[in-house]
Amino acid sequence: MILQALAFYVFAAITVASAAMVVVSRNPVYSVLFLILAFFNAAALFLLIGAEFIAMILVIVYVGAVAVLFLFVVMMLDINLTELREGFLEYFPVGALIGAVVFAELLLGVGIIGSGSTTIEALNTHGAQVTAIDNTRAIGQVLYTQYFYLFQVAGLVLLVAMIGAIVLTLRSRPGVRRQKAGDQINRTKDQAMTVVKVPTRGGV
């Protein structure tokens, strides 16, 4: 139990420290790398409370896909750091406000302040029930039955985001010769070549 508590404090400390470094570090590539470290330690925290499925999905989705694309984009940006610093004071009040709102919502949601829907005690009793079966099975049992509509709505939100991204980036340029793999494969000898009888000294 002491070992578990120690592990919790180590992972939690690294999570908070690397999250702070995401904001503080001057190089945006370092920011993304610290973000990945934060994701990892969050996954380790999930493992500590016995939520191995969520931990693995966190690593697969966020570290394996989302952060790779972040890194991909950030590496190709040519960011002028001094210019970024100049706007800092201008954006600070807005950023601080958003941060405060999110923090307050978190506190309300968990139920430390006021009466949130899920208190820590309720979460703990849930946890006790779930450990009887492994948590992949537990999620599977409720995700497509009890939370079916919520799950579908979440899917629709993602679909809308995907269509939006495609609409924003799709542009049709006239006069572009596209490669059509099907046409190439379906070409036969008759269509592709002709035998020409070349007269001597005449040329084609």
């Binding site: 394996g64 896909a65 790779v68 991909f72 190709m76 992949t136």
Partner: protein
């Protein structure tokens, strides 16, 4: 006496720590030997395809060639380019090598022969294999060289694309097994060799193998290090052991994906014929033979096929493999549900 030793290794924390360390060594040392001789086998196979002899000078039949190569890499000087990002430049090969090794913790070599028999073994493997790209992408950026950077970008796009179809392949197998534990996957395939999943899920096996080629950056998908365009791709600036770690990591990854293929589709440690002379052979040998078979196809492909063009590689991943694998997931789920073959929980 034996009882005392037993209690020391199962209850004392020092004993448990020593035991875990020994288990890790028992996996990594044979793995590194396998990597060394995989390079030798690779070169011999390509040589045979091209009617050459391959390495035959160092030791009998050239068998000591991998050792000589390894020694050479260790003794050379590690050069860090002056414009490179020093810390990340050194960390990148370590990440590439480490991710290739830690994944082996959940691979079942035989019935019960597994370091960590966790319930989400397949997800763990999938998560770790998706981390391999970081070594490459960080190497490309930290080198501060255009060839390395282009190689890294290609590799990142390629690995993210093909991971999607590998994910769907894993889901299909999971549907048939009803568990995320790799040992359960193997146990579900017991019996004759036509009970293994390669036959009922043949299209997925093909997609898995081709995606595995793309994940490990092997021919015909070795665009991240295509020598004709990008010198050596993401490891252009690396020398000596930093290069060696990339190389070892690449081969360890190949062996890992072959092992995953053997577990998912070729029945893991099971013998192909479930009767006397075949079942007497230890399961770990069958498992090694299956891995060797898949690795041979890796080398064979490299010796035979030309390289894909980059846009065609992306087309294959997103426009062919993704719809086909998604459709096959739906089909498998429908057949299992309506045929009444769903695995019992």
């Amino acid at each position: 006496m034996f009882a005392e030793i037993h209690t020391f290794f199962t209850t004392n924390w020092l004993g448990i720590a020593i035991l875990i360390l020994l288990q890790c060594l028992a996996v990594t040392v044979p793995l590194l030997l396998a990597v060394a001789y995989m390079t030798y086998a690779d070169r011999k196979i390509w040589a045979s395809i091209q009617l050459r002899r391959g390495p035959n000078v160092v030791g009998p039949f050239g068998l000591l060639q991998p050792m000589a190569d390894g020694l050479k890499l260790v003794l050379k000087e590690t050069i860090v380019p002056s414009s490179a990002n020093g810390i990340l430049f050194i960390i990148a090969p370590m990440i590439a090598f480490m991710t290739a090794l830690v994944a082996w913790a959940v691979v079942p070599f035989d019935d019960g022969w597994v370091i960590a028999d966790i319930n989400v073994g397949i997800l763990y493997l999938f998560a770790i294999s998706s981390l391999g790209v970081y070594g490459i992408i960080i190497a490309g950026w930290a080198s501060n060289s255009k060839y390395a950077f282009l190689g890294a970008l290609r590799s990142a796009a390629q690995m993210v694309s093909y991971e999607v179809s590998i994910g769907f392949v894993l889901i299909t197998v999971l549907l048939c097994v009803g568990s995320l534990n790799l040992s359960d996957v193997v146990i579900a395939q017991s019996g004759w060799f036509w009970n293994w999943y390669w036959l009922p899920l043949l299209p997925m096996f093909v997609i898995f193998f081709i995606s595995a080629l793309a994940e490990t950056n092997r021919t015909p998908f070795d665009l991240p290090m295509s020598e004709a365009e990008l010198v050596a791709g993401f490891h252009t600036e690396y020398s000596a052991m930093t290069f060696g770690l990339f190389f070892l990591g690449e081969y360890a990854n190949m062996i890992l994906l072959s092992a995953l293929g053997a577990v998912l589709f070729l029945g893991g440690w099971h013998s192909p014929i479930p009767y006397a002379p075949f079942t007497l052979v230890p399961g770990v040998i069958w498992f090694a033979l299956k891995i060797a078979f898949l690795l041979f196809i890796f080398s064979w492909t490299k010796g035979t096929l030309p390289r894909y063009r980059y846009d065609q590689l992306m087309r294959l991943g997103w426009k062919v493999f993704l719809p086909v694998s998604l459709g096959w997931v739906v089909l498998t789920a429908a057949v299992l549900t309506f045929g009444g073959w769903l695995p019992k929980p």
